[in-house]
């Protein structure tokens, strides 16, 4: 009996550990989804996207209420605009109408595009050029609804003119939309939680594994022990596989693509406008770090360029605003090596002659940047094993004269990085 009790305890410990590992699974899962969506959605994001937005739970209730609300509408329409814009307190019903207007759930005759189709209410994994609901609500928090109506109905920007074309919102609608949007200032906008199928599978596997094990020990349900053994083996292999895969991915962030404070697109800058990587990341050739360009570098162009073809004025205004307020933009760092690894851009770019794409991928095609390699040591060493060294450098001629001579004599066709100490631990770890 004691023996069995002890086994159960061990099993409980395993359960405990499994719960600890769960968050890791969800994290890595999320990252994987990102890449998939990234590929799918780049086309879709091309503005003027009028496809229906996922319908809110309130849809069913909506049909009933619409009539009541419209009665109220007609009453209020009598009031002059100046009074409507001054409304500061709103009933719950009014706020619901504001929400529905935002989500396009109120039937409007001219079939205007609803707000949410362009302005996110969730943090998305893909690049949406348009400002999200939170940004707009922040911007207009201390401004009147009249200001909002101007930009809604008579926008100045080229792109907004196109999108907001034919908007026929009443003054009251605008007031209510603004009132609804104000809530974002308080609650912010949230991440979309991806569905975690893998984790569910893992939990099920665990439960099965446990039940079978318990059954095997206590022997009650199945008289045939073979069934238990099969279940234990199958779930065991599955659990081990999932754990192993995730353990290897621990702390690695391949595909990491966080939302940046400014919707900066490398595809626009490096791709369409053909800006050289070294123009902004000007220390890549001369320093350990490639460097994030200071605001002044941005301003070299954005002193004049104030309107983006796709983003309009909003995003560029953030760069200019930060520069004028003498505040740096707090970018989210994507490529990050642990502190015990020393990597020098100068070594690889200048001395090694490696181009940026070799590690960072096709940045020129990325709207939203993501981490291409997993930055594992295996990835580093694989390259060191295969990459040829440019032996024309005087340094190598002097100190690696033996290799240089046999290279010249044709005895060897090339020297790989590994041949000049590229696998010494102390080259990167010190």
């Amino acid at each position: 009996m004691y023996f069995q009790a002890r086994k159960i305890k061990y099993i409980l410990t395993l359960i405990f550990l499994s719960f600890i590992i769960a968050p890791a699974l969800s994290n890595s899962h999320q990252v994987k989804d990102t890449i998939k969506i990234q590929k799918k959605d780049t086309a879709k994001v091309q503005v003027n996207d009028t496809t229906k937005v996922p319908v809110n739970d309130t849809t069913k209730v909506q049909k009933k209420d619409t009539a009541n609300l419209q009665v109220k509408d007609t009453l209020k329409h009598q009031l002059p605009d100046s009074i409507i814009y001054k409304q500061t307190t709103f009933s719950a019903e009014e706020l619901i109408r504001g929400e529905r207007l935002f989500f396009g759930l109120v039937y409007l005759e001219n079939k205007s595009v609803n707000c949410v189709s362009c302005h996110n209410t969730n943090i998305s994994d893909t690049l949406n050029w348009n400002p999200d609901a939170l940004e707009i609500s922040r911007k207009y928090l201390n401004k009147s609804a009249f200001d909002l109506s101007k930009i809604l109905l008579k926008p100045l920007g080229k792109k907004m003119k196109e999108v907001h074309k034919g908007f026929q919102l009443t003054s009251e609608d605008i007031v209510l939309i603004k009132a609804y949007m104000n809530k974002f200032v308080d609650i912010g906008i949230k991440h979309n939680k991806p569905v975690i199928t893998n984790l569910l599978l893992l939990i099920i596997a665990f439960v099965l594994f446990l039940l079978s094990t318990i059954d095997l020990i206590i022997r009650r349900i199945f008289k045939n022990r073979q069934i238990n053994w099969v279940i234990i083996t199958v779930t065991g292999i599955f659990i081990t596989w999932v754990l192993a895969v995730n353990a290897i991915a621990f702390g690695r962030a391949k595909g990491y693509s966080p939302a940046q404070p400014i919707k900066f697109s490398h595809a626009v800058h490096a791709g369409q406008n053909k800006t050289d990587c070294n123009y902004c990341h000007y220390t890549a050739k001369i320093s350990k770090t490639a460097g994030i360009p200071p605001g002044s570098i941005c301003m070299n162009c954005h002193l004049l360029v104030r309107n983006g073809t796709r983003s309009g004025a909003t995003e560029i205004a953030k760069v200019v605003g930060a520069y004028e307020a003498n505040k740096p933009v707090e970018w989210i760092r994507i490529y990050k090596l642990p502190d015990f690894v020393f990597f020098s851009h100068e070594q690889h770019v200048s001395a090694g002659g490696i181009n940026c794409e070799a590690c960072h991928g096709k940045v020129k095609e990325m709207d939203r940047l993501y981490q291409v390699p997993d930055l594992s040591m295996g990835w580093c060493v694989d390259c060191h094993k295969t990459r040829k060294v440019n032996f024309s450098n005087e340094y190598y001629k002097t100190y690696y004269s033996d290799l240089y001579d046999s290279l010249k004599a044709g005895k060897i066709d090339s020297v790989r990085v590994i041949g000049i100490g590229g696998r010494d631990c102390g080259k990167c770890h010190y």
Binding site: S287, G295, Y395, T398
Partner: protein, 990 residues
């Protein structure tokens, strides 16, 4: 082979361990030795719980990867490249200490000090204090802003208040006194002059805690020059020093070490040093002959030398009392090297210094080894001025006192008198940047910048100028002292403009290279130094006729306590702390004294014979009347004397330095207006208590094997490998089971010349600063957990009561047959293709097998989380606040900060090797001569450490490793180290 021993216990090999009694007295470290974590038997359940918990914590920690931010500049400074070091030439000035330096900054913060090789004074050398000064910058206990009665206030209001008060005092014809140490900055002097002119009736008093006023006064009498001359140890064939520790603390030790060690090359003319002293000092340890004397015997010794010399030179006979110390032969030797000898004394008694002057004059040393053309400007204060000031203060005749960078409440021998006088001063203002005992008693605090935040200049020696420039903008709301005085004088000019104007007006005309003021100033600033007259001084300067002076040897009284039952006390400065200015610097506190190897404390050094006589043991606490101090039995301490270090027992300097050691400044006295650094006690009481030291002494004993090889100059001249005969034998007979590995491309190595190394410990701190070596604290050092990658072993040879001393810097030997590498179960330590023994922290999981298998004991284990790099909480051990955000700014970003549970050790500064190789590749060239310098070799004031590629046949390195003096540590083990030592050659003539 001589028998070397490290301390008295190991000499007699006492096997039994001492039982240390615990007492409840506050002085004893009760509880310190006891293990706080009591040994409760742990059950399997607890073990599993812990396993689960630790796994949970580590798993959680790694799951939630923090969102890192990349924050660029808004407008990047032109000269700054993120990730690359930027260097500024500057000057280190702290009280009387001076060093020309280069400050290494990374991303706008100073992280390392190097010596400036352009300087004609320090020539690229530094000292431990200079190296550690960068940490003072990030000391959070520095004043954060101007304060009135202890409350932070603004500069504007405080300026207004003080200015009006000062003007009122002038109107009422009161006295304003400015109290500073010796100021050798010409521009600051001009600022002060301006201030004194503005406020009529104000005075400027200079006070140096370690006083050399007797030399200054004696020179005034002897040569009509009230200065300290330029001593040239490089020009002296024979140096006779009586109690002057010129390699450690006396006047300008970095400069003197450079000069002295330049003459310790046995292949050229070697000098000869005779040291007569009571304490075993660094200079005494490096001397060729050491004679133990009591301070009271000094006068008689000098008189007898004087008698012999005057008899030979002027054919005059004078009568002197006989000396009780045997000094036969010294006078003859001095006469033989007349004009090329140097007699100095560390005494601050005027009659002794007059006698020294006379001896040097008769020997014709003036103008050769003692130059008055390029006199020292770092020490000029007279003790009598201070004595007078206190008298005036006590009378209430001082209306305002401005104190800057002096701390008389701590360092003055009658500190209570000063504090009492201070109370009677109407307006007391401190301009010092960090808290001390004096400015805790003043009304206003107008804090000065740290020197790394300041503009300044210096003229430490006549015609040797240098500039100081800020390497970072002010961390706290502080303002430079010169700026404060300028502001109060009603000037609108800033100190930068003032200095620039001063240099253009006064110094530009001394050169002809640059005609444009801006170019002149910028070039000088870049170079750091400006030495218009250096070339003439190099030629020896003019020989001044020093006419006969009124000197009557009979007027000199000799007090000889010999035979009487009196113990004389010699108070001295330590290499690390000096007069205690940097007491709040944990690097310096943890630096073991070169000789005693004790850190974090001061103590009474007592001779072994006397200890036996009084039945004293190490660690016994003694009562010396005013103070109680623990005993350290010091071989080589003169019988009848005791040595105690000043600079300890600070009470208001900050968290680290407060209450470390005992304050003994009260034991000083005054002789004819000059502070005397000796004292005497007629009785001592053994209290019966025990006080443990943090001592690195017996930790690394190599058990009497031949690791320091030594020979005399004569033997060396006959046979270049004298004393090193074993090397050839070992080369022939050593065989390895392993296949020999070739390093055809680079093979990094080091050569340490034991003849030149003085053991000054500069390299220990240089290494600590470069490689992020943690501070562990007294308790951990006591438990043999110190972390220094570079240590200096000190061994005694010969008699216990009069030993000879040798120093040996020991670091990782980077063995080609490394015993550590074979035993690592995870290959966390292995060999690189360039001959380096690599240590991979992220691979290490802490078995410590390598540490056990290392014959040199150079590997260090992180027993605790000393640097806050670990992920597990509760393991942090940070006694010195080194893990705070501010102090962490000193970390070198090119070196990993190690977490707990891993081994670390010297890496041969691989980060510097990598950086230099990259630079060469970038510039498409081979490496330059001496381009790669490790932290220890770069700033060595003795040039004892040489680093380089052993494959490079043209290098200095090659020459040294092919010399007959080269050997390896424990070479009989055939570990084939890459660190080579050169036999120590002593100049044994007498």
């Amino acid at each position: 082979m001589k028998k070397y021993w490290k301390d008295i216990e190991s000499k007699y090999r006492k096997e039994e361990l001492k039982v240390i009694e615990q007492t409840s007295d506050e002085n004893s470290l009760s509880g310190l030795l006891s293990d706080q974590r009591k040994d409760i038997p742990a059950s399997r359940r607890d073990f599993l719980k812990l396993c689960g918990f630790s796994f949970a914590v580590s798993a959680l920690a790694s799951c939630q990867s923090k969102i890192g931010k990349a924050i660029p500049y808004v407008i990047a400074p032109n000269e700054l490249i993120p990730g690359e070091a930027l260097y500024y030439a500057s000057s280190y000035i702290n009280g009387n200490d001076y060093c020309s330096i280069i400050v290494k900054t990374r991303d706008g913060r100073p992280i390392k000090i190097e010596g400036n090789p352009e300087s004609g004074i320090t020539r690229g050398g530094t000292s431990a204090r200079v190296q550690a000064s960068v940490l003072d910058l990030y000391d959070g206990s520095r004043f954060h802003g101007p304060m009135k009665e202890g409350i932070l206030t603004g500069w504007e209001s405080i300026d207004k208040e003080i200015s009006s008060k000062l003007h009122k005092i002038v109107e009422e014809k009161g006295t304003i006194v400015l109290l500073t140490p010796t100021i050798f900055s010409p521009s600051t002097e001009a600022v002060i002059t301006g201030f004194l002119n503005k406020f009529k009736g104000s005075e400027w008093v200079r006070y140096d805690a370690i006083s050399y006023s007797a030399i200054i006064e004696a020179n005034k009498i002897s040569f009509g020059k009230q200065v300290i001359p330029d001593y040239r140890f490089d020009k002296a064939d024979l140096i006779v020093s009586i109690g002057a520790d010129f390699l450690g603390t006396w006047l300008s030790p970095i400069e003197y070490t450079k000069q002295f060690s330049s003459r310790r090359d046995p292949e050229h003319d070697m000098n000869w040093l005779i040291q007569m002293e009571s304490n075993l000092s660094l200079t005494g340890s490096n001397s060729d002959n050491r004679i133990q004397i009591k301070p009271s015997q000094e006068t008689a010794i000098l008189l007898n030398i004087y008698k012999d010399i005057i008899k030979a030179v002027e054919k005059r006979n004078i009568e002197t009392p006989a000396s009780s110390v045997d000094i036969s032969g010294i006078s003859e030797k001095l006469l033989l090297s007349a004009g090329k000898s140097l007699v100095i004394s560390g005494s601050n008694i005027k009659q002794v210094q007059l006698l020294v002057n006379e001896i040097n004059r008769l020997l014709g040393n003036i103008g050769h080894t003692i130059l008055f053309d390029s006199f020292l400007k770092t020490h000029a204060a007279l003790d009598s001025d201070m004595e007078m000031l206190i008298g005036t203060m006590k009378k209430g005749a001082v209306n305002a006192l401005l104190v800057w960078n002096v701390n008389p409440v701590y360092t003055w021998y009658k500190k209570d008198a000063f504090a009492e006088g201070l109370k009677k001063v109407g307006l007391s203002i401190s301009l010092s940047g960090s808290p001390d005992e004096t400015n805790s008693l003043v009304q206003y605090i107008c804090p000065d910048n740290h020197y790394l935040e300041s503009w300044n200049d210096a003229e430490p020696k006549k015609e040797y100028f240098s500039l100081m420039q800020p390497a970072i903008s002010q961390i706290f709301d502080t303002r430079q002292m010169a700026d404060t005085l300028l502001k109060w004088s009603g000037s609108t000019i800033q100190s930068y403009d003032f200095i620039k104007a001063y240099w253009v007006d006064n110094l530009m005309s001394r050169q002809s290279e640059f005609s444009d003021p801006v170019t002149f100033f910028d070039h000088t600033l870049q170079k750091g130094t400006f030495e218009p007259a250096a070339t003439t001084v190099e030629r020896g300067g003019k020989i001044r006729s020093v006419g006969t002076i009124s000197f009557d040897p009979h007027s000199i009284k000799t007090v000889d306590n010999d035979g009487k039952n009196i113990v004389e006390i010699v108070l001295y400065e330590t290499i690390a702390l000096g007069e205690g200015r940097q007491a709040n610097n944990p690097w310096l506190q943890e630096l073991p004294d070169p000789v005693t190897k004790i850190c974090w404390d001061n103590y009474v050094s007592i001779s072994p014979a006397q200890a036996k006589e009084y039945n004293l043991n190490d660690n016994d606490v003694l009562n010396l009347g005013e103070v109680e101090l623990p005993v350290h039995i010091q071989p080589g301490q003169a019988y009848g004397t005791m040595g105690i270090a000043l600079g300890y027992g600070r009470s208001k300097c900050g968290k680290v330095g407060d209450n470390v050691g005992i304050d003994v400044w009260r034991m000083l006295s005054s002789d004819k207006g000059n502070i005397v650094y000796t004292s005497k006690v007629e009785y001592i009481i053994k209290t019966g208590r025990i006080y443990p030291f943090a001592q690195t002494q017996t930790h690394h004993s190599m058990e009497g094997r031949a690791f320091v090889r030594e020979t005399g100059l004569k033997e060396f001249k006959n046979n270049p490998s004298a004393g090193n005969e074993e090397h050839a034998y070992n080369l022939e007979h050593n065989k390895s089971l392993y296949k020999e590995r070739k390093y055809p491309h680079h093979h990094w190595g080091m050569a340490i010349d034991l003849s030149k190394c003085t053991g000054c410990a500069n390299c220990v701190i240089a290494c600590q600063a470069e490689n992020n070596v943690p501070v562990v604290g007294k308790e951990e050092v006591h438990r043999v957990h110190e972390m220094h990658w570079m240590r200096i072993d000190r061994y005694y040879t010969g008699e216990e009561d009069n030993p000879e001393v040798v120093f040996q810097p020991v670091l990782c030997q980077h063995c080609q047959n490394a015993p550590c590498e074979n035993v690592c179960p995870v290959a966390a330590t292995n060999h690189s293709s360039e001959g380096l023994n690599q240590m991979i922290y992220n691979r290490c999981f802490g078995t410590r097998y390598c540490n056990n298998n290392c014959p040199y004991k150079v590997r260090r284990f992180n027993w605790f989380n000393y640097s806050a790099a670990g992920t597990l909480s509760g393991n942090l051990r940070d006694i010195a606040g080194m893990t705070g955000d501010l102090k962490r700014m000193v970390l070198n970003p090119d070196v990993t900060v190690r977490a707990q549970g891993v081994i670390e050790k010297c890496s041969f500064c691989v980060q510097r090797i990598q950086a230099a190789k990259l630079k060469a590749k970038y510039e498409n060239r081979a490496l330059l001569e001496n381009e790669i310098q490790t932290a220890c070799s770069q700033s060595c004031p003795a040039n004892a450490i040489v680093f380089g590629d052993m494959n490079d046949r043209k290098s200095e390195m090659s020459r040294l490793i092919n010399s007959g003096r080269r050997y390896n540590l424990l070479e009989e083990l055939f570990t084939m180290p890459s660190v080579n030592y050169l036999t120590k050659i002593k100049n044994k003539i007498l």
